[in-house]
Symmetry: C2
Subunit: 143 residues, 2 copies
């Protein structure tokens, strides 16, 4: 499979959320590292390991036909030479649904390989729906 | 503060869960990296960033007086030179309570610094209480 290069963790993250918003399974899976230790946890869901199981989980999500609008905020980033972690709040709205859901809390981990940076872990979990409680201390972005 | 050295991510993880089980706040905090990008998410809870907020969250947990017995299973590990990720299932029982709670899903991230390996991120989230659904594909341990 021809994979697009992601020169930085931010490029990989941007491609991931763009593919998520477009419901583009191939583009979303192209962000993932071809690594046996890939892990994906959907909010409140099971832990999927390995690309086949991860792909199937996203396929099922996209096959619901729901169109998601996904954005992230409040990143806390730490980049090492070969691995990077982005903690973000993930805001998802479903097209045609006016409900404002509370943001999710997401840990994204990227590794650097021959194809540049790719996703190793995507762990998203529900958060309490409480203004002012979701973020403790001052979140910060450091590149 | 005198910090014990953790020569490997596994040493840091062992110290973390031993301190958690003992309810030893100082020992637990000694595992964390002195880094502004530290992130801690308790199951279903808010995102805490920075050591002061993280310490306070554990202090409140331990001050409930509950004694936890914590163990982990099904690790999926990926170690880079300066950063390591452990995805584990976290099994917590409360002393005196016979309830078997479903395991939690945890992403632990460690970074290597002058003090050896220390914790950067601890993200734990609830999972569905369903046998056979919690683990998809075959989890594996690779060192």
């Amino acid at each position: 499979m021809d994979k697009p290069p992601f020169p930085t963790p931010d490029d990989a993250e941007r491609a991931f959320y763009e593919a998520f918003t477009r419901g583009d399974l191939d583009a979303l899976m192209a962000v993932w590292a071809e690594d046996e230790e890939t892990v994906c946890v959907h909010p409140g869901g099971s832990r999927f390991t390995g690309l086949a199981a991860i792909r199937e989980s996203w396929k099922q999500l996209f096959e619901t036909g729901m169109k998601f609008i996904v954005r992230t905020s409040h990143p806390v980033k730490n980049h090492a030479m070969l691995m990077a972690v982005h903690s973000v709040l993930q805001h998802i709205t479903v097209e045609g649904d006016d409900t404002i859901a509370p943001p999710l809390i997401t840990t994204n981990i990227y590794i650097r390989g021959a194809q540049g940076w790719q996703m190793l872990v995507h762990h998203t979990s529900p958060s309490p729906d409480t203004d002012g409680l979701l973020l403790q201390d001052s979140p910060r972005t450091v590149h």
